[in-house]
């Protein structure tokens, strides 16, 4: 049973990353109509920024948790201002191609300087060790990742669904021209939205740094799984992305325990099944 709980925990952690990343993708898609292929690369940048902060600046994990999303978010906003904004009005597919190119550039540059091997990032002292829960041994850091991700996800949901700023955002998603007519600076909102989505990806990167090591290609395969998560969950609902992300992480963890050969493929197989039964995705409306 120990092994089952351990895999369940790994599943929850992966689920946290899926949730944070698919949430960001959904928010960005809502405002910019772009599927951000660079999301995996920006997740990787988040981990690398945390690594640089610690090793070059001696800045601790806790500050990295705040600073890395801001730094990568600003980088994202620069990308949006200099490139993505010119795609308004073009076919959605160009956004995918452009961000794929950005992902290749970012990953290629990091691979050049850091190769493909992983750089270690140690767990902060306050989160070292573990607690015995009676039925399993819980490493504190892993528990922290799950709970903190959940809090961030809920906070994002609250920001978008329950605040005035979120109301503007949702309105601008529906009808940007009308919202501009009310005197709201929609282009700036779009930039900030992209920054927010990218910041969430970078945050996931910082959280994963002590668990998965810091590697240039850490986001390259992950983003494809997250795409499958997005296809399963649909991008129509924020809460839908969060729940689907965590649920698929758990299912993947269970697969690792019961049938390890399929653990890499289970999310894709589920995507196929969902497409066959309900092509619009679990929470999606007709496209």
């Amino acid at each position: 049973m120990q092994a089952l709980y351990a895999q369940l925990l790994v599943g929850l952690i992966n689920g946290s990353f899926y949730a944070l990343l698919s949430l960001g993708l959904a928010v960005i898609f809502g405002m910019l109509n772009i599927i951000n292929f660079a999301h995996g690369a920006l997740y990787m940048m988040g981990a690398f920024v945390a690594y640089f902060l610690l090793n070059l600046g001696g800045i601790s994990y806790w500050w990295a948790l705040l600073l890395a999303p801001i730094i990568v978010g600003i980088f994202g906003m620069i990308l949006e201002r200099t490139m993505l904004q010119w795609l308004t009005g073009l076919d959605h597919l160009y956004g995918l191609l452009l961000t794929f190119g950005i992902a290749l550039i970012v990953q290629g540059v990091f691979q050049n300087y850091f190769g493909s091997s992983g750089l270690p990032y140690s767990i902060p002292d306050q989160l070292k060790g573990g607690v015995n829960l009676g039925f399993m041994f819980l490493p504190i850091y892993r528990g922290w990742v799950v709970i903190f991700s959940l809090v961030v996800c809920i906070a994002t949901w609250f920001l978008i669904e329950k605040t005035r700023l979120g109301a503007y955002l949702r309105a601008a998603t529906e009808n940007p021209t009308l919202v501009r007519a009310f005197g709201i600076n929609v282009p700036r909102m779009i930039t900030l939205t992209y920054g927010l989505g990218v910041g969430l990806a970078a945050l996931a990167g910082v959280l994963s740094a002590p668990i998965n090591q810091v590697r240039p290609l850490m986001g390259a395969d992950l983003i494809i799984v997250v795409f499958a998560v997005v296809v399963i969950g649909g991008m129509g609902s924020i809460m839908g992305s969060i729940i689907t992300g965590f649920a698929l992480g758990v299912i993947e963890g269970l697969t690792k325990y019961f049938y390890p050969e399929a653990s890499n493929t289970v999310v894709f197989v589920l995507m196929v099944l969902v497409l066959l039964v309900k092509p619009t995705g679990l929470t999606g409306r007709a496209a």
Binding site: W86, L104, I105, Q111, N112, F268, L275, A287
Partner: protein, 322 residues
């Protein structure tokens, strides 16, 4: 929705004649390669990718469907051909057939699944499906995992053509490429191709005119996947191996890049794009990962400033369809 390409020129006898002239020039140039001193291996490789890019272009350029998993057809056909040639010791023509049939079967299944969603979702689904297949091939015994299938015998095609001779192999690959190219050209200019273009331009209107657009898109997907498989089967004879790189998402990305550079929805664009990208890889091989960075930069530049691609720009300047 804005169109991906601006190839809205009507198909006139003059346009057809122009295209045939360009085709004959291209065929003659390619046929003269063995006498020119150019390394034939490079051209053969580029021809396989050119056919793959043309097949991909059939889907994106004429059907408006961006597949981000086209490497799966090339890789699957490659593995199956390689297995048939090496383990079953089939002659080359049957080996190619096995690869094509495998790609056909795969495109039936993946087409049935992915055609259920449109636009951006279609791209994500094809990418996910190709990743699924990548992991299957990573674990399946017959692909030999990381090693791939090595040392594939080239054999004698139809019992007479010795494919281990580079010149013979070159002309076999060239004939295969030209046949595939002409087939795609024929499809594009058939009534079926015209309906496909109308779906790309305005799907709701095509539906209201009574076309079952899903069936057209599905057929386009199967044709494109099968032709991509043909390219993959030919590539087995050139590279003499089948490996995981051919099924990886980065390969699918390269196919997209070739077509984008040459010009989405142009007839000759994917061929030009394939030669440009393969040549670039050849000359920049010593620069390691900078090749990835350069490819990424080309994506960005093409999307931001150069959406018609090389051939598309020339065609636009000359006001011809190419």
């Amino acid at each position: 929705m804005t169109a991906l390409t601006d190839d809205t020129l009507p198909m006139t006898p003059r346009a057809m004649r122009d295209e045939m002239i360009v085709f004959v020039v291209m065929a003659l140039l390619l046929a003269s390669v063995p006498f020119s001193g150019i390394y034939p291996f490079f051209v053969m490789q580029a021809l396989c990718f050119a056919l793959l890019a043309c097949a991909f272009n059939l889907l994106i350029g004429y059907g408006g469907l961006l597949s981000f998993g086209h490497a799966m057809f090339m890789g699957t056909a490659g593995y199956c051909s390689a297995h048939a040639l090496k383990v079953w010791a089939l002659p080359p023509e049957l080996g190619i057939l096995v690869g094509i049939v495998a790609a056909f079967g795969l495109s039936l299944i993946t087409g049935y699944i992915s055609i259920r969603r449109q636009g951006i979702y279609f791209s994500m689904i094809t990418l996910a499906l190709s990743q699924l297949l990548y992991f299957i091939y990573l674990q399946a015994p017959f692909t030999h995992g990381e090693d791939g299938i090595q040392g594939i015998p080239q054999g004698h095609m139809f019992g007479v053509l010795d494919l281990s001779k580079p010149t013979v192999l070159y002309y076999v690959v060239l004939v295969g490429f030209l046949a595939g190219f002409l087939l795609i050209y024929r499809i594009i200019n058939s009534p079926f191709g015209e309906v496909l273009k109308s779906i790309r331009e305005n799907e709701p209107r095509a539906i209201s005119l009574g076309y079952r657009t899903d069936q057209y898109k599905f057929l386009a997907f199967v044709l494109s996947g099968t032709l991509a498989g043909f390219a993959g089967a030919l590539k087995v004879f050139v590279a003499q191996n089948a490996s995981l790189t051919d099924v990886h998402w980065s390969m699918s990305g390269e196919v997209v890049l070739m077509t984008l550079v040459g010009g989405l929805g142009t007839i000759f664009g994917p061929v030009v794009g394939a030669f440009v990208i393969i040549a670039m890889q050849q000359y920049l091989a010593g620069f390691g990962q900078w090749v990835t960075v350069i490819q990424g930069s080309i994506f960005v530049i093409c999307v931001l400033t150069f959406r018609r691609g090389l051939v598309g720009e020339v065609a636009h300047y000359l006001r011809r369809s190419l």
